[in-house]
Structure formats: C-alpha cells, structure tokens
C-alpha cells in the first residue's frame, strides 16, 4: 500500500500538469529516477495515435532532466519530415545545437526519418557500456555523449520505423483516454469557467477521443463565455455553442454524418459507392472518417459498409440537430 502511494506521488510529482496515461507516467518516472542516479536515459520512442499527447509528454519528461550544473536541460523539437539527409542534419542541427551541449532532442514524426540518417542512427545508438559514441561521416568525426544528450522519438506509425532502429529504442505505448479524463482536461483548460457535472460530461462526449480535441473544445468554450461575458457554462450554453459551430453528437464531422445518412438509406454499400456519393477519395474516407465511426461502433465493415443500431441512433440525433438548425 505504501509502495503504491509512493509510486503515485512520484509520477504525480514529475507530471503534475498532465491528465491520464498512468502507465506511461509510471514508466517515464522510472527512467527519470534512473536518470537522477546515472545521468543516462534510454532512447525512448513514444508511440500512439495523433493527438494523444506524445509531444506534451516528451516535453514534460525533458523538463525533469537537469544538466550537471542543476539547470533545466534545453529541449529541441525536430520534425523529421523536414530532414532531407545526413548532411543537412549534421550541418544545421548537430553542429550548432547538439555538439558539446546538454540538450534533449525530440524527433517527432520519426517514421519520416531519411534513410541515410536512419542508417547513421543504427551505428550511433548501438551503445553497450560506453555513454559516448563517435560517428564518422564524410571524413568528419561527430561525438555523441548520452550523459549530455538525451534522445526521444515520437511517431503515430511505428511500423514504418526501420526495425533494427526500433530494436535500439525503448517503446512507450500510449493508451486511449477515458471520458472522465477528457472531462478533467476540459476543466483544466477552462480554469475560470464553472460547469455542472452533467454539462461537463456532455461536452466530454462531444470530443473526438483525444486530448487535443478536448483542448480545442475548451478554447471554444472560453471564447463563448468571453463573448457572453459569463463564467458559467450551462446546458443551454452548450446547445447554443453546438448550434453556432456545428458540434454533432459524439463530435462526428459533417462528412461522417453524411456517411451515416447514406448507410441508413441504402442499408449497406461498398467503399466505392460511398466515395462516389460523397465525392471524397476512398483512401481519404477510410483514413479520415471511417476509422472514427468504426471506433465509436457507429458502423461496421463486413465485406460492405453497414450502419449499426448505435449509428442509426446518432444519425437520428444529428437529424434532429439539423431540423433545429433549419
């Protein structure tokens, strides 16, 4: 019991501003404790769907790393899709920012790393006992000191990372957020607004499964309250806001409502038919809209696309919203 309390206090101490992801917090806290003792951190790879907070967690982790002189360690965020090759990386990033400095580097969208840099990392991150690694490239020698430089990778598509590189990284998997956690995030992001529990639940129900969506909804609530000069967000306020900016049940988009309407009308249909009726490419439909409807159990795919009982309910509810709008 006391151990559990100790663990809870520890990860709450390291990540006081972040909601949920208890397993991630515990694992990162373990590595932060190890860092305090050894000044070494494993090469982490944060894996999870978009909007789950990978970058926020990487930043919070980095905030807990300290240099030899006790000062906070600088945090460098790189978007891998903008790195074209080794030359560009070593010239623009390594020499001016990393070399001989104490810094944490986040390689965001790590699945987009160029091939030659991936190969270089295979050598660089192949460390055993030594915390230093020298890498020779183009007749030059680049020194990496893993007590001074911490490397973190983040990706939504871990299957696209070259497997031998993935083997050298410690994977941290993100899990989905519960509705209560999303409600907590909304509350945290709207510090001066009061909600009843029912309204907060209704608002949480309208966001799309991830904290990024909850943060965006919070901003809309703040704007609404500012424009109405109020600090209270009621059920009527939510209805008014939904009407104004088009919030549909479960936070579905207008295209998703259209998919549900078509499936309700046709019974079932192929992806090609859906694509022809809606006017979006099959891949865009599959990637951007169907995944969410499947996740929410509003449609199913059994050879053809079909609407579920829950989908019919939501489609009817959205229809009511549309009649009210008109």
């Amino acid at each position: 019991m006391s151990t559990n309390l100790h663990t809870l206090n520890r990860h709450e101490r390291y990540f006081p501003e972040l909601i949920g992801q208890i397993a991630v917090k515990k694992k990162l806290s373990f590595y932060l404790d190890a860092f305090e003792a050894t000044k070494l951190s494993p090469f982490l790879c944060l894996v999870g769907a978009k909007g789950l907070g990978k970058t926020e967690f990487a930043k919070a982790y980095a905030k807990n790393l300290h240099n030899d002189d006790g000062h906070g360690r600088a945090f460098l965020e790189l978007n891998c899709s903008t790195i074209k090759n080794n030359e560009q990386f070593f010239e623009q990033i390594f020499m001016p920012v990393i070399h001989d400095n104490e810094v944490t580097i986040l390689f965001d969208e790590a699945h987009a790393l160029p091939k030659d840099l991936t190969m270089a990392f295979l050598t660089i991150f192949n460390t055993e006992k030594n915390h230093r690694k020298n890498f020779e490239w183009d007749g030059m020698d680049f020194e990496f000191d893993f007590k001074r430089q911490t490397f973190i990778f983040a990706t939504t598509e871990s299957d696209k990372i070259f497997p031998p590189l993935k083997d050298r990284l410690t994977t941290i998997d993100f899990e989905p957020y519960s509705r209560n956690e999303l409600a907590e995030i909304i509350k945290l992001c709207t510090p001066n607004i009061t909600f009843t529990d029912e309204v907060l639940e209704k608002v949480a129900k309208s966001v799309r499964n991830n904290p990024r969506s909850a943060v965006m909804r919070s901003k809309e609530i703040m704007l609404f309250c500012a424009s109405k000069n109020t600090t209270e967000f009621t059920e009527d306020s939510f209805d008014e806001l939904s009407d104004a900016i088009g919030i549909l049940p479960y936070g579905i988009s207008f295209t998703e409502r259209q998919i549900l309407d078509i499936l309700k009308e046709c019974g079932s249909c192929t992806l090609t038919t859906l694509s022809a009726k809606i006017g979006l490419s099959p891949s865009a439909l599959r990637r951007d809209h169907e995944m969410y409807l499947l996740n929410k159990n509003l449609m199913e795919i059994d050879g053809k696309r079909k609407i579920t009982a829950q989908g019919i309910k939501i489609s009817d509810l959205a229809e009511t919203t549309r009649i009210q709008e008109e």
């Binding site: 930043k59 980095a62 905030k63 906070g72 360690r73 600088a74 945090f75 460098l76 965020e77 790189l78 978007n79 903008t82 790195i83 074209k84 560009q88 990386f89 623009q92 990033i93 920012v97």
Partner: protein
C-alpha cells in the same frame, strides 16, 4: 571459305546509359575514369600534380543550391 575476323558492322565500343541510372549504381562520390581532354572541355583545370580544379561557375551554383535547400524545422525551448 575463310572465317571473317574483327568486329561486326555497326559495333561500337561505347554504349549510352542514363546519368541517373549510372548515379544510382555509383552514388554521388563514385570514381569514374574519364578522358582528360573531355574534362578540360567542360571547364575543369587539371594541375601538373593531377589535382582537379572545379570551375567557379559550378562552385557558385552548388553554393546557391545549398542556400535554397529547405531548412529543418525545429524549436528550441529553455526551461527555467
């Protein structure tokens, strides 16, 4: 009937290969043996010691390409 000797009519010791295809095989830094006069015709100078001096116009173009190359997007945060 005597055997015909020599190369067939139309034979050439040279073949055409696309630069891109050859580059894929050799890479950017592969060593290719070329004729001295051909290289000089392109504007290169070859010193007595055999060092090759790259024409100024190529150096300038290389520099301007480098400047045009997209910058890596990054953000550096210093925690207090």
């Amino acid at each position: 009937m005597a055997n015909k000797r020599g190369r067939k009519k139309g034979y050439s010791p040279y073949v055409d290969i696309g630069y891109e295809s050859l580059g894929d095989y050799l890479g950017k830094k592969g060593l290719v043996r070329v004729s001295r006069s051909w290289l000089e015709g392109l504007g290169y100078e070859i010193s007595e010691l055999g060092d090759i001096l790259v024409p100024e116009v190529i150096l300038q173009e290389k520099q301007s390409n480098k400047e045009d190359e997209a910058k890596i997007e990054y953000k550096l945060t210093h925690f207090e």
